[in-house]
Amino acid sequence: MSTSAATTAPPAAATAQETSATVEFRQVRRAFGAAVALDGLDLAVRPGELLALLGPSGCGKTTALRMLAGFETPDFGDVMVDGEDVTAVPAHRRDAGMVFQSYSLFPHLSAADNVAFGLRMRKIGVAERRARAAELLELVGLPQHGDRYPHQLSGGQQQRIALARALALRPRVLLLDEPLSALDAKVRLTLREEIRRLQRELAITTLFVTHDQEEALSMADRVAVMHAGRLEQCAEPAELYAHPATAFVAEFVGTMNRIPGRTGDDGSVVEVLGRRLPVDGPQAAPHREVEVLVRPEAVELLADEEGKARVTGTMFLGALTRITVRLADGTVVKADMTTHAAATFPAGAAVTVGLPDHPVLIDERRA
């Protein structure tokens, strides 16, 4: 994207800021035959916020987005935009711009005509259409590409045109359905930043569907983690990572070790690796076999010739190195440390594994 595009304040910005909308899903349920896509979803999106819907395939995140766009109808519940129930409003009157996973530009129209398509449907004059299309092409950094057809554009360029098209009608809400998943890694990183910049400039309420946790954590103001049609947790990225509300969130967001432990007399304490640590979040019954969830960066390794754990492998990650350790009971634990420090733990080395004095999440022990 050109520097000029990045620094020019778009004329649309002020308008969009004024029209930033709230979005609310109230007890929304949707089933496709026996498969329940959404199971009583309750979720509120704040004005001007970028909220990422994150979850594995089939968790209902795309169904929720399509419901907001008007492409799906809930079996039960309401979809609200700015406090107004839009559940029965047809898709072409929803006032929500959408960017699809596979670009979905119209192949017979040039980039400028694709951008101006919505304006044409609204019967806006040719001169105004052209001016608005040029303005949006400038905004997405493709001012010279208006005459090109989709097949003459790269994937990243097509997705920028799709973004411009979605913004052409100055929608109250912007919907992004895995817009980066069809792009290669480098373009994805660039476009990720571009989308975030545009969203902030226009202050437009945005829902972003992705299954890529890194994408969600790096772009969103808040991340809503979904599982089996339900909302597991909705929080800011740092909060989500540091304090996952459930075992599913803990494991889905980032990497998580599962170390065998046993709850104490009242279930508020767990014994793990020879230590007693307070339990964070939902507790289990007393004297129960559980698994303690610990991030790799929280695991401490100590070189110890008498240690019963053994280093089985290392993975270079740049500044960090991930060390894989096998405990005496066969449990595999991953520990992250600086690459410099990791040099002292060669494969086969005997180590002692420790945990810091922090509350830990626990989960039922898996078979």
Partner: protein, 296 residues
Amino acid sequence: MNANTGRRRAATGPQRHQPLARWAVVPLLLFVAIAFGIPALAMLGGAFTTSDAGPGTAVHYTTGNLTASLQGAYFTALLGSVKLSLTTALISTVVGLLLAQAVVTSRHGMLRHAVLSASGVLANFGGVPLAFAFVATLGNAGVLTQHLGLDKAGWSLYSFWGLVLVYLYFLVPLMVLTVISSLDGLRAQWREAARNNGATTWQYWRYVALPVLAPSLLGGFVLLFGSAFAAYATARAMVGASVPLITLQIANTLGGNVFAGQGNVGLAMSLDMVVVAGLVMAVYIPLQRRSARWLV
């Protein structure tokens, strides 16, 4: 195996297969040369030559045959064929598109299966059997003609519109087969993107679906035109000389049914048809190419 051997094998592998692949094409080329090339050359030669009466006489080069083929009854027949082909192709394109769309959007897989199978059979059902089927059904003494009293309403199967009806019987299924893959290629996301941009269903068809389908529809139209233009047996069995068609005129001149010694004019008329077919193909091929790019 060492690395050098591997490289040598990798390099010689494809070469070993190439000559075989080339030879496999030879029977096809021979067939095309015999079944298409020789008759085409004979037609071309005959269209531009004339010979004096009697065996062993001199052959003269002339454009007279072509001139004659574009005059009088022959020209009327050429226009008749073009008119019949345009009419049937147009109707079949519209009806075939609607039928194919109904099949594509149907939730019943069996319906699609049944329509496609039936279309495959009906698109190839032509000639005298088809003519007879219609004569028995909608001819002067046909079952439906008598039952519905169509003859009193002025209906005649042995007319231009009667012929149109019969041609539709195999052209509509042909259009269904032609256009259904293009309709399958229309992405659901285009419809959703259009709706998301404020387009109604009508606007989606007007501004997205039909323009995207246009090359494919025009390609189908051209194919139907060619098919109707070249049809002979059905028309021969049904209307004889009452509807002027170029294929019937060619048969008359080559057979010497009306005027003896008009064989070369018949070949010139065949050349007229080749020119029309060539023009049709010139339109069809680029359209198909464009359509294939859009509707992957």
